[in-house]
Subunit: 561 residues, 2 copies
């Protein structure tokens, strides 16, 4: 018996059926919708997914409903049926038909809990107003979409800048709504990106899509009009108009059934499982968004509710049910998203996380085109590589940009899987052709930059460090080595900045003061590195290059990729 | 001193300059064009690259000519200058200015040979006709393009179905030319793909772009008209019209200088180097398209002239020149391309190569969408995973399709780098979101299929094996379990085929004869696998599933992705 019919549950059921043709397999789910593409919902809101039913259909057009699972998969699927209580001693589950309220018990040999997660809805005043939504199941997505259309909504507020919040903001912006994202933490995607990367993505999303971000701000109440429709969002720092408010402040695992059955919950609050996906009761397995898992780089217990993990765990559970020992070893913290025209992702540890764990962290940030600049459709990516300076071990990679970020995240995830080093990254024999890549892949370019730092071939400062130096009125030369056209387009407006194009630098060396620190800067950090080496070779002692150049400078004027 | 100024040479020079500010660095190249984007030339032919100069420009718009290298990189660059002979004892090189024919000698402390490769031009009768081109340097690309436009060419022939040949065929087809590819070997991309994958790609390129492939056919002579322009290509099996003929039968390393200097050449005919990229003379390094390298999976010496390797080797040479010991460990056989709307690639060993090496090979082929089917822009990919059945070690991956093939090739290359197994592939924590992927990545899906075969959960036959059974008039049931619409669209027209939709199969089991072998087939091999398990569970003993389904059936009617 399997409780939960969205992602992990059906996966367990389908593979268990294939492995055990004679087993009686029953799946119960309290919802109306089963086996739906929850991750596709933001793309349904902005019409990228053509029709609501696409979220339920197979690739060949059949709806994945109870009848489909019965006829195609040989599974007994009970929808609108709640699992109320587990009697572990008697090995049976009390279930309730939510249409008729009728209850009965179902026996089991093995029970699988795939009860999923639910949206956190904070106890905000006004949360019952029309136009206030959570965004967890297809009913929510449909309700949001209908409301947007019916009320011809112009102004939207998303509460929460996590994955769902940012994807939704992208979808609402695609619909040309005035979109505001309010996030309690000081930055967007606080669980996924370091502050520097998050700020760059925020700046780009704001510039390209007009999304307004209000970070470090807490929603305190929602205000409605006389018709009981939401009109305004009040925060601890002000207010803004809103015709629709979507609350996406996170999800929490549905553990009530497990808890009441006396199963052990983990430190994250989700159901604890061993590497066979077994709970503290050897006859009960659990998988998907209701369980906690292990971070394979740190050994820490983490709550990582992603569909890819749910599928993998589902396969492992089915194998174990069928007597084929199989293990799930955990996650690497990989997470990717698309919002508007931007991609973002992370695998492994952020710099902040790595520092908390005591690593001697070295990082590099580099903007690069995702393929040859002369090829149509090339787009910028900014990658950040995090490594342990002592061992050279790769710890994590983050990426943002309109270009192909996710390929690089996946490649880095593979290196992390094997505990590889930055040097391993450099030695990878990746595919190169102009439509796909540059001869030195952006990921390898960024790793090269890190190795150059490790080898003391270059000393860099970050955009933030430069900002602090400028704000502190330090005396230095900001040597901009770009060509004039680039500098005219976007520059740091400061009297300490001098423009000497790299191609002129060799013959104009006499103009560069030798008694001051020289900070070199260009567009992406390549020419500033070249200038750094040139100056050092010419005897300048105090030189630094701005890592990632103007493309990583988020302090205006607004940049675009 | 560096001989060769296209890819590896400038890379060595630039990094050597950064590492050794005081070194005298001279690069000589006999060509007019240096540091050009050779891999971009096919995309210049079909106007994807907007302008010829883009093949030479930096991302910020400067042409990478001798003046650029002098002023930006501090390098002495001599173009149209041939290195005629190396005097190793005297440590000097005789060079000749090709404009003035003046000769002089240049001394060196260290010499780097980056002499590249040249197109093989077979001694065909008629090769001097107007309209007959090789395709190696920008001059060739420009000449081809001008000829196509000036003569308003309608019919083109490409001789050779290797990388350049297939990319070019895609470019010519994009220009709406009637394009024929003639290849001596029995299939396209003979060095890259197994026969099954090559045939599928060939079928798709033919169906989607109207390219005619004549494989197993040898060009014997070119016929011209009275104006001395090529008009017809004669082969050992016939002839075809052609207003332009591009010969792309391969490249060979430029080793004359090395050979005459007495340097050791390797078994492939290219310059032999050690893992520091040093030749048999410790003061002479070599890198790029003129050297041979090591296949890291087999230890075999291979000739692998790719820009990504050239760049990596260039960095290694520069590091070693500067006294920073650095190694280049070789290639994994990764190669990717785009032709028309199709991508293709390979990393590691093909099945054929693995069999020759004595592996107990297990493979799986699976077509899948590259992202969720409901997301716009999703495209099909067909992946083939090759593994060693005894150890489970991953040996190689091939992919073709309009979808995102190359990401999967790169991820597989990372697994191969670490000597990983198919199980490692399954455990990778890859990024999932609907615009990028499916919850089970196509690569992992294909690996799952392979594991199911290894674990005897399914027994499959290939499209070829099915074809042979059909042709041999064997008695069996071809059980097509797709929905009617799919079967109507494209099916194997044979009396042995019965259509029983998977959803009906359970209640129509009585109709399936128990005394015959049952071959299940569907669209991509997922439902046929489900049907296989169903039938086996119901007591049918002789069942097989067609791996990859109709999508891997290349024997007509023509399919499209």
């Amino acid at each position: 018996m399997i409780v939960g019919g969205v992602a992990a549950g059906p996966k367990v059921a389908a593979r268990a059926r294939r492995l055990m043709p004679d087993a009686e397999i029953t799946v119960v789910d309290k919802g109306r919708y089963i086996s739906y593409a929850g991750c596709g919902m933001p793309f349904y809101v902005d019409d990228q997914v053509g029709h609501f039913r696409e979220l339920f259909n197979t690739g060949y057009g059949l709806p994945r409903d109870a009848e489909y699972f019965r006829s195609e998969r040989g599974l007994n699927f009970l929808t609108r049926t709640e699992a109320v209580a587990v009697d572990r001693a008697g090995k049976q589950v009390l279930i309730r038909d939510l249409e008729t309220s009728r209850e009965k018990t179902l026996g089991y040999d093995r029970l699988v809990l795939a009860t999923g997660a639910e949206s956190v809805m904070p106890p905000l005043e006004g949360r019952e107003l029309a136009g206030v939504f959570k965004f967890r199941d297809p009913g929510d997505a449909q309700a949001v979409k209908e409301y947007l259309e019916r009320r011809n909504v112009q102004e939207a507020v998303v509460v929460g800048a996590g994955f769902i919040g940012i994807e939704l903001a992208g979808a609402l912006a695609n619909l040309k709504l005035l979109t505001t994202v309010i996030e309690f933490q000081e930055r967007i995607l606080p669980l996924t990106l370091d502050a520097d990367m998050a700020r760059l993505l925020e700046e780009r999303l704001a510039a390209a899509h007009g999304i307004e971000f209000r970070t470090g701000e807490r929603v305190v109440r929602l205000e409605g009009d006389e018709q009981g429709r939401v009109r305004r969002v009040h925060t601890d720092r002000g207010a803004c108009d809103a015709e629709v408010v979507i609350v996406a402040v996170g999800v929490r695992p549905n553990v009530q059934l497990a808890r009441e059955a006396g199963l052990v919950l983990g430190e994250t609050g989700a159901v604890a499982i061993d590497e066979h996906c077994r709970t503290s009761d050897p006859d009960i397995y659990a998988c998907g968004d209701c369980v906690e898992t292990t971070h394979r780089l740190t050994g820490e217990k983490v709550y990582s509710p992603f569909a890819s993990a749910a599928n993998r765990q589902g396969r492992v559970v089915a194998d174990n049910l069928a007597g084929r020992p199989s293990v799930y070893r955990g996650v690497l913290g990989t997470a990717v998203l698309q919002a508007g025209t931007f991609n973002a992702g992370r695998t492994g540890l952020t710099e902040e996380h790595a520092r908390r764990l005591g690593h001697q962290v070295v990082t590099s940030i580099a903007p690069q085109r995702d393929r040859t600049h002369y090829h149509p459709g090339s787009g910028m990516v900014i990658l950040k590589v995090v490594a342990d300076g002592r061992s050279g071990r790769l710890l994590g990679v983050q990426g943002i940009g309109p270009g192909e970020v996710v390929k690089r995240i996946d490649v880095a995830a593979a290196v992390l899987h094997f505990g590889g080093t930055v040097n391993d990254l450099l030695e990878l024999d990746l595919g190169y052709a102009p439509p796909f890549n540059t001869p030195v892949d952006p990921l390898q370019h960024t790793a090269n930059a890190l190795v150059n730092k490790l080898d003391s071939i270059v000393e860099t400062i970050s955009a933030d460090e430069l900002k602090a130096k400028l704000d502190d009125d330090e005396d230095f030369v900001l040597l901009d080595v770009r060509v004039e056209k680039e500098a005219k387009h976007r520059k740091i407006d400061d009297p300490r900045r001098v423009l000497v194009t790299l191609s002129e630098l060799r013959r104009r060396l006499a103009e560069i003061p030798r008694d001051k620190e020289i900070i070199t800067i260009c567009d992406i950090g390549v020419r500033s590195y070249e200038a750094y080496r040139l100056l050092r070779g010419a005897g300048f002692d105090r030189v630094k290059s701005v890592e990632g150049g103007m493309r990583t400078w988020p302090y205006g004027p607004a940049s675009m990729f």
